[in-house]
Amino acid sequence: MTLPAFSLVRPQTVAEALRVLQDAAPGQAKVIAGGTDLIPNLQMKLYAPQLVVDIKGIAALRGIEWSPGQGLRIGALTTLTELERAPIVREQFPVLAEAVAAVAGPLQRNMGTIGGNLCLETRCLWYNQSEFWRRALGGCLKLPMPNPHAAHPRTICHVAPGGKFCWAVWSGDSAPALLALDAEVEISGPRGVTRRPLRELYKNDGMDRLALGHDELLTAVHIPARAAGRRGTYRKLRIRNSIDYPLAGVAVAMEVDDQGICHAARVAIAAVNPAPLLVPQAEALLVGQKASPELIEEVARAVTRTGKPLTTSASTPEYRREMLRVFTRRALQACWDRRDNVEHERDTGD
């Protein structure tokens, strides 16, 4: 297949990249780093940008820096392989090491970057299809393709017919782990460099997923020093265990003292909503408590109330919701038992 025609620019500095993005008409420029999300989407003709901005040459966006006072700073172009292998990540932020190692396969992780993984396009069974396939149905809310011969000549959402909201799912693995570690993102734009909580990057809307202006660039991720050493684990449901997008993902990060009492806890989920989400009740339920089957079950129920899986994938919503519950239970128990080593056997839902 051939990609749609576009011009390519390769800025070497953040300032140069921002200038190019500002000059482009809104929606007409796409940023490329590893290419593992953008290129397949271009192949499917999901976008037709005039301009592609290749930021891989910006050396300032690479690398991982740790300081006990400032915490961890991860440059946006850091590859998922670099992150997965970094000793500081494996030792101090096990939930992130596990989540990153669960992304696709090793060759994709050699290309894919943390910035790209956080900015993934949302996915849906009715959207991630060839142009021919989509046109036959008249497209969908996210990408209308009017076709008078289609079964529904009017553009509709095939997931929730009659609805005006797009349920395309945010299907990444690193964001729930980073949410569980209270991460912030550094955004560079025409008004300078700002830092905001990662959770504010996501709008929970399948069509308009990111709170990121067309003239802004995600340049780094920060994890605060207070999150270092938290026990953590990530559990992921997927059809093909070697390479696949998640169908449900649960990240847990906790501080537990020698008596087994929880002092801080975050539970975040992905691949069941249009955004990766922190489960709001989890912390209040867990802090100050010791492990008990009743407590773990109560948290698992709170998780299934936050997750809203619909028919956006080949797997059923019922199965994905049930696996949220199972994964939450297993992840919490593993954290309490301190089975938080990245070498543990992958939990695949079997």
């Binding site: 990609l3 011009s7 390519l8 290419g35 397949p40 392989t81 060759l107 994709q108």
Partner: protein
């Protein structure tokens, strides 16, 4: 669409090609440079048939814009050993029957070469993990893992600078 003049370093040779900015590295290798060893399988980065080494790291040339890799050192399956010779990894696959239809083989060879460069003593679990981006639709994975194990033995026997000769492969059967 205006073409871009690119300098690519492929298998140790620098070459100049004029390509449109939307052309994939896989297509430049196959169409402009005649290196048809790298295969187009899934075309959406989920099968590993198009794997090449970029600055020593295995990557998927079907999701790489050629213009993005100007100046990088690219190694395709054709560049693993000099013409007429086999790399120990290729020997391992040839002797152990690591190829059935052969379509996925170049990708497996590239991923195996990268693994042994990085980790000369991989366990079976590490081999499986390193090859988990590569799909074999003949499902001959056991022979492939056996090939890697054999390649590992040969790899340790030959001096790292020189590739083994094809006669060495026949001698051990």
């Amino acid at each position: 669409m205006e073409k871009i003049l690119l300098k690519l370093c492929v298998n140790g040779e620098t070459c100049q090609v004029a390509v449109p900015p939307n052309k994939l590295l896989l297509d430049v290798l196959r169409e402009d440079l005649g290196l048809t060893g790298s295969k187009r399988g899934c075309d959406d980065s989920s099968c590993g048939c198009c794997a090449v080494l970029i600055d020593g790291t295995p990557m998927l040339s079907c999701v790489a814009l050629a213009a993005s890799y100007a100046g990088a050192e690219i190694t395709t399956v054709e560049g693993l050993a000099p013409p007429g010779e086999l790399h120990p990894v290729q020997e391992g696959f040839a002797v152990s029957g690591g190829a059935q239809c052969g379509y996925c083989t170049p990708g497996f060879l590239i991923a195996t070469k990268a693994l042994l460069d990085r980790n000369p003593q991989p366990t079976l679990e590490e081999i499986r993990e390193a090859l988990s981006s590569n799909l074999c639709r003949c499902t001959g994975y056991m022979q492939i893992y056996e090939s890697v194990r054999l390649a590992l033995e040969r790899w340790q026997q030959v001096p790292r600078t020189a590739a083994a000769s094809p006669t060495a492969a026949q001698g051990s059967q």
